[in-house]
């Protein structure tokens, strides 16, 4: 870790404004450079030190306290997003594409997209009009192999500006709904980067004894890859992954979803350290901070999956924000939960005192 920026106190940043800015910046897995830059700029206002590694993981560091054996705590929220990639360009200039991360092909038709060629290019994933469909066509899903992106450009121009391997994002800015709900793309998991921001703000109001690393990780959506290498580098005593989980919707099973108005979610299960998880729950209870519980029976689909088994093992926690319509362009969440999650994590960090190692031992 090569920290190179000294940080000065910056203007305070509202989480909602931060999110609105963040989700407009492309950051498809493997191509997070731009979004990393923005995150590092904001982190600089709240951290002692900030750096970016070769893979564009962003590290913000805050160290406080007088006790000798301070815990090194790593928070991780991923900044990459699912998206598309140019696979081929046909003779008429229509773009064939593949997916990066878990894109649901049912939501692709009639999406607006931005193709990052030599310059950002606006396009649409077209759909065949009902008038031109053959009998029975309307009842079947269009396969991704049969979809193309239309840039409205002649083929020669497309081939000049776009090449195989260029990334593509959806165009879906943050929209404020009612009741402090917002929707937009890539709130999975930029919302959790906002949780880290809230944690920083809250920590500034508290006394704590810890060396805290706020890590905005890359390439989570393609296999928790950024967390794998950044956790190895930080080598923390404790890991806290922050990610989104499923909010309740009419068509989803109740036992696998969480309520939108009942606080952030603490996940428990074999992927998470039992004693530490209990400590996190106790902190929330002691300070009457609202939370929900969720059970993950196996390795979670979050950075915690990687963090737990790096080097000789890292005791890991998982904090989650309920989010509806995951991996669509209208991911929806309640902003209140972001602030609440940040508070629980900050209070948890502040609860670390001499003898904290006891909490890790069985």
């Amino acid at each position: 870790m090569n920290f190179k920026y000294g940080c000065e106190e910056g203007d305070s940043v509202e989480s909602k404004d931060f999110l609105a800015r963040l989700i407009d910046i492309p950051g498809v897995s493997g191509y997070e450079k731009e979004v990393s830059k923005e995150v590092s700029e904001v982190f600089k206002g709240y951290c002692d030190d900030v750096c970016i590694d070769d893979f564009y993981n962003v590290y913000g560091r805050k160290t406080r306290g007088t006790i000798e054996d301070k815990p090194k705590i790593m928070l991780a929220a991923h900044i990459d997003e699912i998206g598309l990639m140019v696979k081929d360009i046909d003779d008429k200039g229509f773009i064939k594409f593949t997916t990066i991360g878990g894109v649901d092909q049912r939501i692709l038709l009639s999406q607006e997209v931005i193709v990052y060629g030599r310059e950002p290019l606006f396009g649409v994933i077209g759909a065949k009009p009902p008038h031109l469909q053959e009998r029975g066509e309307r009842g079947t899903a269009v396969k991704i192999e049969d979809m193309t992106i239309d840039l409205g450009l002649p083929p020669q121009k497309v081939k000049e500006l776009v090449r195989v391997g260029d990334i593509i994002t959806f165009k879906s800015p943050l929209v404020s709904m009612q009741n402090n709900f917002v929707n937009g793309k890539s709130l999975d998991d930029r919302a959790s980067v906002a949780v880290m921001l809230e944690t920083m703000k809250e920590l500034d109001k508290l006394n704590f004894n810890a060396d805290v690393f706020f890590v905005a990780t890359v390439q989570e959506e393609v296999g928790v890859r950024g967390a794998t290498i950044s956790t190895y580098g930080v080598n923390p005593d404790i890991g806290v992954a922050i990610d989104v989980t499923h909010g309740d919707t009419p068509d989803s099973p109740k036992e696998e979803t969480n309520e939108m108005n009942k606080g952030p979610v603490i996940c428990i299960g074999p992927n998470l350290h039992p004693k530490l998880s209990q400590q996190l729950i106790d902190v929330a209870e002691d300070y009457s901070l609202q939370y929900q519980l969720e059970v993950a029976p196996g390795p979670t689909g979050t950075d915690a999956r990687a963090m737990q088994i790096i080097r000789d093992g890292i005791p890991t926690l998982l904090m989650e924000i309920p989010l509806r319509y995951m991996h669509t362009t209208v991911e929806t969440l309640n902003m209140d939960n972001i602030e609440k999650a940040g508070r629980i994590i900050a209070f948890f960090i502040a609860s670390m005192e001499e003898g904290w190692r006891e909490w890790l031992s069985y």
Binding site: D53, F55, M85, K96, I229
Partner: protein, 332 residues
Amino acid sequence: MKDLLKKLTETYGPSGNEEEIRRVIEEEMHEYVDEIDIDVMGNLIAYKKGNGQGKKVMLSAHMDQIGLIVTHIDDNGFLRFSNVGGISVLNTINGRVIFKNGIMGTVSYEEEIENIKDIKLNRMYIDIGASDREEATEKVSIGDVAVYYSPLAESNGRYIGGAMDNRAGCALLIKTIKELKDCKNDAYFVFTVQEEVGLRGAKTSAYAINPDVGIAVDVTSTGDTPKARTMAVKLGAGPAIKVKDGSVICHPKVKDLMIDRAEDIDIPYQIEVLEWGGTDAGAIHLTREGIPSGAVSIPCRYVHSANEMVDEKDLENGVKLLVKILENEIEL
């Protein structure tokens, strides 16, 4: 190139049994490197010193191949088997296989099966011509591994053979070692084991070497055969610079560097977006704190069959590209 490719593709070496192919590769290039090491996994690591100012580069080509491992020998001397790596039913039916000791066999399936879709590997067997179990066990034991028997053929500037995946990549590294003159960078040429069973050799060798940059050299699929899945890679249109596959999203800076070097020497090249599969770069880039990695791929039709096809020009241009990358400064 042909002689080298013939020697490499016809040498035995399924995952976990790489002794022979390792010996052949070592013999082929040991005079041209500064140091050679074989680690506990069996990776063959050849080191060529740079001028002291460059980067530490790990180039990796896996030398293992897919195979059929004997799990049971029945009373009549037929061998039941399982797969080592991606052996498919379709590519194996009625093909010839060869064991390390030269014993040959043909692979067939239970005759009562009427629908080809019902054939699974566990309903197939290897027939080595033995008349009973006793005769079979004199020649083959449980745990022995057979590979496709496939002498190299040439047609129209293209080579057809078994284990092009990834002896073609090994040939590329060997040629690169021989043709490197003014190597700026410290180059570790690693002929890795056990790629076909999960990029296992690359994982340990990358950890030990801890390079600044990783470059995998392997074969990739093409989209230029009748009714192929859409893929903008063709045989003969140049080595492919990988953007992604199932195991890695290549570091954009490594990818761009490869493109720049290909344009410097004005060779044809292609951009590869592979929607499945994986290669050693997948293991290398996640080593320790992360190692920016990329891959040079050799377009190859019919991957994981006994008759994989590559183009001579792609191989030659691939060597030129690797030499150019190593002889120049690597700025990331």
